[in-house]
């Protein structure tokens, strides 16, 4: 106990310090965010975020409820556009192309940046149609057998193929929670995105289903860049290479996951990961 208190006292950045500490840049960035602010009407929900998302990496966004991590995540595929009164300013670019301007077409952007939600939200259609929906609207398949190939491939990658291959025509809503979430992941990767955003994908699942999804995330990293919001610090430690800690709309600390969890620079980060608030 004494050692912890000592270490806290020695932290170079105290609770009042609000600018990001740690290395927010990445050597090989896929997404670059500079001075990103988000407002809900008058409320300044996310303030001055600078962060890079590295290629083929998993970056975890952690922080207490209402800290702005989900709001920030939704900037990366412009999902905040669907919320009335929400305004996003600053520069966000993917592979060097700005994605936050008013003249950017969100349809191809969202095809490139897929998203998996907190609660599994399969469409009330068959399992096959759930996965085939994205490829259909983007015209990715030229003929039916092509489409079947995409569906099978996506379900395989999502680790669901063996469980559902005999009942593709049954409704996706009839699957268990964990299967539904993997179906949503399959649906997302069926449009062949480059980045996958995950907003607390395991918070509605039991431990076994969670373990499967975490393993899946680790496998998907070789093909996709993944940004995951999570409430569970263990999950962040298990699946991510980099971790960003948010608090009250500020990005407090970002760095290598091992670094952030074993030797946090900021007093708030340390208090959060040791469970003193959150």
């Amino acid at each position: 106990m004494t050692t912890l208190e000592n270490s806290t006292r020695e932290k170079p950045f105290h609770r009042e310090h609000r600018s990001t500490v740690g290395t927010f840049t990445s050597d090989n960035p896929r997404i670059v965010c500079r001075s990103v602010d988000v407002y809900y009407g008058e409320k300044h929900a996310v303030q001055n975020i600078n962060i890079d998302v590295g290629r083929h990496q998993v970056i975890a966004l952690i922080g207490p409820s209402g800290c702005g991590k989900s709001t920030f995540l939704r900037c990366l595929n412009r999902m905040n556009d669907t919320i009335p009164d929400c305004r996003v300013t600053g520069d966000i670019s993917m592979d060097g192309i700005a994605i936050n301007g008013p003249d950017v077409d969100v349809v191809p952007l969202r095809a490139q940046v897929g998203m998996v939600f907190q609660k599994p939200n399969p469409f009330p259609k068959s399992i096959f149609e759930n996965v085939a929906y994205g490829p259909r609207i983007h015209g990715l398949a030229t003929n039916p057998s092509d489409l079947e190939g995409i569906v099978e491939n996506s379900l395989r990658r999502a680790g669901l193929w063996e469980e559902v291959k005999d009942r593709l025509a049954q409704p996706g809503t009839g699957l268990s929670g964990g299967q539904q979430q993997r179906l949503c992941i399959a649906r997302t990767i069926a449009v062949n995105p480059e980045v996958i955003l995950m907003d607390e994908p395991c918070s509605a699942l039991d431990p076994i289903a969670t373990a499967k999804i975490e393993q899946l995330i680790d496998e998907l990293r070789t093909l996709y860049t993944i940004v995951i919001v999570t409430h569970s610090m263990q999950q962040a430690a298990r699946v991510s290479q980099r971790t960003a800690f948010f608090h009250l709309g500020h990005l407090i600390e970002v760095g290598e996951t091992a670094q952030v969890f074993t030797n946090p620079q900021h007093q708030l980060t340390e208090e959060y990961i040791t469970g003193r608030f959150g």
Binding site: R110, P124, K125
Partner: protein
Amino acid sequence: MEKSTLFLLILLASTLAYLRNTWRARTLAETSGQKLHSLPGFYGYYTALWCALPGLLLLLLWLLGEGSLLTTGALARLPQSLLDGAAPEQIQLLVNDIKSVAQGSFEGQIDPAIQVAADRFSELTLWSRILLTVLSMTASLSGLLFAQSRINTDFRARNQVETVVRIFLIGCALTAIFTTIGIVLSVLIESIRFFNMVPITDFLFGLKWSPQIAMRADQAGSSGAFGVIPLLTGTLLISMVALLVAVPIGLLAAIYLSEYASPNFRAIAKPLIEILAGIPTVVYGFFAALVVAPFLRNMGAEIGLEISSESALAAGLVMGIMIIPFVSSLSDDFINAVPQSLRDGAYALGATQSETIRQVVIPAALPGIVGGILLAASRAIGETMIVVMAAGLSANLTLNPLAAVTTVTTQIVTLLVGDQEFDSPKTLAAFALGLILFILTLCLNIMALRIVRKYREQYE
């Protein structure tokens, strides 16, 4: 005492009983230092109920039984010669005379025999009144005293009061149920009488509707044809035209309002659309007959089409306008009930707004929308006023919307309007038509409610 005065008196007494015993229960708890089983108010309600119910029940009993007892008593004073062999109608006339003499409103020469009976009637009325006053007062008072004697801190007043409330609620529910059963039975029984005169197969499968029946035995006239098929096709034709108008307009309006419109516009537009449902159907009726039908006929004449001045098209168009709110309001509710997460899921895959609406939102809301359409259809089938005024009376067996047709409801109206004998097939046919209509709309409603319920389960 008059019954209404008595009624008010009993209510006043029970109010006082409530106030007094609420206060008594509170003081009881304070003086004895024990905790009351129920809130003080329940002791008040308990005594108030015991005070009011016996008196009111007695009053009700009196209302139901008094009249016949009094008239029986008064008729007994009439000479037997007046009553022997008299038909029920004649006795009813005598009773009316006796009553008006007793009330002093009889005009003209008073028969001495009637005068005797009327005196007896007044006498009995007076006694009955005194008896009722004494009895109901006693009943209320003894009920009150009984209830007061039972009050102590352990007495479970709340449970007793709740039992009474529950019985009252059951009574209300049963009233609605028995009324329905009564209506169905009366329609059914009269229909069976009709089917004894006209074979049911002739009715269900007959292709000709012409219910002209000789009103007098010696009158020359046809025996009438009671084939319901032309009426059913007319009804379905007009309903179909109405749905063709209402479904696209209502559904598309609902989609605009729930998915595209700004909250401000929606707040104004939705109530405005729902006003359509509040316009009296008779107003729609003369709108159809005086504006739409002539307009259609003139337009038809311009382009060389012969459109009857009372056409299924005119009635159907106006009826379609009338049922737009049923379709749009229900569809709007069900589209709004589709979880936002489904829309988010589609948007996140790169679907545009129109793709999301067409391929995700509408399919998800479809069962509810279909339910709404079926409810609108059953409304259209049962609608009367518009078709009476705009669709005409000629029972043509046709699917041409430009011709005049007639509907089940219209025929019911024409069969029963005016002086009718209650035992001719012409009048009874109305009940059989009513039965058909009832079965038709009942099936539609059951179907609609099932679909709607199935949909509700999906997201709960």
